[in-house]
């Protein structure tokens, strides 16, 4: 499979430009009304791509496309409206008082204003109103927490075990026997038919990480020596973008996650392909690369299903070329980038735990050629 050089985020489409600051502001002003929401909605539209479906790089939590994210969104909008109303009222009071009671001239200094020490009635009024608002918020919050955290998963829900590493994601499908990294494939659910949620078990191999794909679900931390659980139920296909959301060391910024939501048929196709062990190349550069791969220490850290490469310290490479990016999202997975990575990962992702192996030029070429066959 050959890929043209693409920007890491557009995944095949170069048509979408950068965010134009003036367009964003103009959009916000035009929409007026709910200021915050308008700004958020002014984000660029998703772009079309060939492999990952629709790319959704703008992880806008106000455009949720999955059940738990929608439930959060519902309470978020309510809270935003209540706080916006409080903001408007209190700011109006403040502006009014500051304007109305400003010192108007030197004559104001002649006499002090009436000295008021307080008023029980007024104090009571502005104690009771906040109590009532707080009470409403408490009810909404308690209900939503329970609905999301204690949701029952159907027996046949897809299960994923996600393990955080410094600075990449290990992805297991325990029921399907699939191991991959940094990209999760799940089937899309429907609002009308049988729901197809995905349950995700979260673990960590080293420090605390956090799973966060804003359009699909809120954060859940991945804590070592503790097993957390979250779930998603996406209603739209496409590639959703997420980040590790708990600071986890040097390359926290480049611990990016993609969730690829597909039609059930496409998902089954992906599963079938993932279960097929890659062949061993017999001729040319790739065959030489195969020998070089197993002759160097690559196998101590990486795993290729069905071979002696059983390392678990680094990402599983069995189906490397089915992924969109390299280095947990640091660059798009192109032959050039792959070659750069094999030569010296530190040049792409400073401080990552894969060392510069000091390979010969010929070994870099051959190993890259071999890796390109893993699809």
């Amino acid at each position: 499979m050959s890929r043209k050089k693409i920007s890491p985020l557009s995944g095949g489409s170069d048509t979408r430009g950068e965010v134009d600051i003036f367009r964003v502001i103009a959009g916000a002003v035009r929409k007026g009304g709910s200021l915050v929401l308008a700004w958020v909605l002014a984000a660029p539209a998703p772009a079309q791509s060939t492999d990952g479906g629709i790319m959704r790089p703008v992880a806008d939590m106000f455009q949720p496309l999955s059940r738990p994210a929608e439930m959060i969104h519902e309470s978020a909008v309510l809270v935003l409206m209540i706080t916006a109303a409080i903001f408007v009222v209190v700011t109006a009071m403040l502006v009014f008082v500051v304007w109305k009671f400003r010192r108007k001239g030197p004559e104001d200094d002649m006499e002090e204003p009436p000295q008021i020490y307080g008023s029980t009635h007024i104090e009571l009024a502005w104690t009771v109103i906040p109590i009532l608002i707080t009470f409403v918020l408490i009810l909404v919050t308690s209900r939503t927490i329970g609905e999301i955290q204690n949701a029952k998963m159907p027996e046949d829900a897809l299960k994923i075990r996600l393990v955080g590493h410094q600075w990449w994601w290990e992805v297991h499908y325990p029921d399907l026997g699939i191991i991959t990294a940094n990209e999760i494939h799940v089937p899309v659910s429907t609002r009308t038919g049988k729901p197809r949620p995905t349950e995700i078990i979260l673990e960590s191999a080293d420090v605390i990480h956090s799973f966060w794909v804003p359009q699909l679900a809120g954060k859940t931390d991945m804590v070592p020596n503790k097993r957390n659980r979250t779930w998603i139920e996406p209603f739209a296909t496409g590639t959703f973008f997420g980040n590790c959301a708990e600071y986890c060391g040097t390359q926290h910024a480049n611990m990016l996650l993609r969730v690829i939501v597909e039609e059930p048929a496409d998902f089954d196709k992906w599963v079938a392909n993932m279960k097929r062990a890659p062949g061993v190349p017999t001729e040319g550069m790739a065959a030489q690369g195969h020998r070089d791969f197993y002759g160097n220490s690559c196998v101590s850290c990486h795993r290729v299903d069905g071979t002696v490469a059983e390392g678990v310290f680094g990402p599983d490479l069995t189906k490397l070329m089915t992924r969109q990016t390299i280095g947990a999202g640091v660059a798009p997975l192109t032959p050039e980038n792959l070659r750069t990575w094999v030569r010296d990962p530190q040049s792409l992702k400073t401080g990552c735990l894969m060392p510069d192996m000091k390979l010969l030029d010929s070994e870099v070429d051959s190993i890259t050629a071999y890796l390109l066959t893993l699809k």
Partner: protein, 564 residues
């Protein structure tokens, strides 16, 4: 000397001069090192706090430059991670804490009519422990590589979540510098708080019953109690961390069955009261400034006291709202969401009472008042974003995103720092005897306010768009570029504002107008003595009959004590 029989005409002779002549540098250093005077220590606290403020501010500017554009290579990832760790740690422990202690030191004895703090030497000890803990933290840039030749300054974030701080993930000595510095600074904070409590409870002048203390003193009493409750858990977990790192303990070692979440509980049992330790002094300053420049007494004094005490109590039961995403049970999450929402009630009461104080007044827009009005507006925003964060499900989206960064900068800059500026301009004439220059101060106010909002408001939006905090770089196309660029541009305005502030401090000290004892026509006791006050504070220990002793003096026909 018995204060009751003190002769008002008696002048204390100048203390014997030792060493060099007054005014020389050695003499100044000597005075600073040996002093146990609460006023001088207060100024030293504030001065060193401002020094660390400038250093940590420059670090913040570097962070913003790195984030101005996507995939910027201004800073290496490790350098960036050290910067935000040091920026956060310094701003909380070396800027916020010392400056509020400086205000307490300088003003509490003056406001309650005492000659000094209860334990002057302990006071000096507290200052020097703080100061050297700050130097120790910054020395990590040079000393931390140690024999391992790994690491430099700490890079684990200001709340240093385990197990990132374990030997396996934090080699070298950087984390140890962080740990020891905070452990040491904690001792300084504890002794200073004990001092504030004892001073307030034991050294009040005649007639100054608790119910007549200025709100400023009340709030610092509450803060001091909070410090005494909050610091020990922090010190405990620092010691546990040292045991883990050097003596094979396994408290936080997850590989050996320890708990990573345990650290978070310890840290936030300290960390959340700490937030109130930092913001209540802001309330304290606002509660002094707003009445004086509105020309009215504070509205609802007893309610203000009750609300402050209530905030302090509730703040002890909300710590795990920093941990909604850590995987607590739904019961745990609900409990902490409710307790957190309850904070909104007393806080709302306070905001209403300040507005009620201004209502019907004759507002004078001097510098302290301008900063306090800015504080009210910004703290309102900070409070409302705080309510959003208290809604646990919404928090699952917002926590650890740039929204949180925006929220706590609205609290700590928009809330605390604005009142600190107000306080500095308000008591500058008292401490130094000169009036701060209004025009320079106005430039400071406008530039800083504008810059502050340009920098931090867009960060709310970046957070809504899924930008996590503490990332040293990001890709273009995720909707964050514009917000980050705007945010960085705001820094220029803020820096210009701070420049005006520093120039004003120096300019006014040299060329400012003489202030006189009571330039603002205020009502609390510190304005009854000279500016700057003598070493013994008051020639005669005053006696008070109401909450506004100077009002009673100035309006003998209509004194406050008739109404209280």
């Amino acid at each position: 000397m018995n204060p009751d029989t003190f002769d008002p005409n008696f002048k204390i002779p100048a203390p014997e001069r030792i060493g060099d002549e007054r005014g020389s540098l050695t003499r100044l250093v000597q005075e600073m090192v040996f002093t146990v005077d609460h006023k001088r220590l207060g100024l030293m606290y504030i001065g060193s706090g401002l020094l660390f403020f400038v250093i940590a501010g420059i670090m913040a500017a570097m962070i913003r430059i790195q984030l101005a554009v996507p995939r910027n290579d201004f800073l290496e990832p490790d350098v960036f991670n050290r910067l935000f760790t040091m920026h956060g740690t310094a701003m909380v422990f070396l800027v916020g804490m010392p400056i509020i202690f400086g205000f307490a030191n300088y003003l509490v004895p003056l406001m309650i009519g005492a000659r000094d703090m209860a334990f002057p030497r302990l006071n000096a000890f507290g200052f020097w422990v703080f100061f050297f803990s700050g130097l120790l933290l910054y020395f990590s840039y040079l000393g931390a590589p140690g024999l391992y030749a790994a690491g430099s300054a700490p890079d684990v974030g200001w709340f240093a979540y385990s197990p990132l701080t374990a030997k396996a993930f934090s080699r070298g000595h950087s984390t140890d510098y962080w740990t020891l510095s905070l452990l040491m600074g904690g001792i300084g904070s504890l002794v200073t708080s004990i001092n504030i409590i004892v001073t307030t409870l034991c050294l009040r002048c005649k007639g100054m019953i608790l119910g007549r203390m200025p709100l400023f003193v009340w709030l610092f009493l509450v803060v001091a109690f909070l410090v005494i409750i909050a610091i020990p858990p922090l010190s405990a977990c620092q010691i546990m961390l040292i045991l883990d790192r050097y003596f094979g303990a396994k408290f936080f070692d997850t590989q050996a069955g320890g708990s990573a979440v345990l650290w978070q509980h310890f840290f936030w049992i300290f960390g959340h009261p700490e937030v109130y330790i930092l913001i209540l002094p802001g309330f304290a300053i606002a509660s002094e400034v707003i009445p004086v420049f509105s020309r009215k007494p504070i509205f609802g004094y007893p309610v203000m006291v009750a609300a402050s005490v209530m905030i302090a109590f509730i703040s002890l039961g909300v710590w795990a709202h920093h941990m909604f995403s850590v995987g607590m049970t739904s019961i745990g999450n609900t409990f902490f969401a409710i307790s957190t929402l309850l904070v909104a009630i007393p806080t709302g009461i306070k905001i209403f009472n300040w507005i009620g104080t201004m209502y019907g007044g004759k507002l004078r827009f001097e510098l302290p008042m301008l900063f306090c009005i800015g504080f009210l507006f910004q703290f309102l925003i900070a409070g409302l974003t705080g309510v959003m964060l208290a809604i646990a499900p919404f928090d699952w989206q917002l926590t650890d995103s740039y929204f949180v960064v925006a929220h706590f900068h609205y609290v700590l800059i928009g809330g605390l720092l604005f009142t600190i500026f107000a306080g500095i301009y308000y008591w500058y004439p008292k401490a130094l005897g000169k009036m701060p220059d209004f025009r320079l101060g106005l430039c400071h106010f406008i530039l800083f306010t504008v810059g502050f909002h340009i920098t931090f408001f867009p960060q709310h939006i970046a957070g809504f768009l899924g930008m996590p905090r503490r990332i040293y770089t990001y890709d273009t196309g995720r909707g964050w570029d514009a917000w980050n660029l705007i945010s960085t541009i705001g820094v220029i305005f803020q820096a210009a504002g701070i420049l005006f502030f520093v120039v004003n401090l120096i300019y006014s000290y040299i060329w400012g107008k003489k202030a006189g004892d009571d330039p603002w026509d205020a009502w609390s006791l510190e304005w009854s003595t000279t500016s700057p006050p003598p070493a013994y504070n008051f020639e005669t220990i005053p006696e008070v009959r109401s909450r506004r002793p100077l009002w009673d003096l100035k309006h003998p026909d209509d004194p406050d004590w008739k109404y209280e």
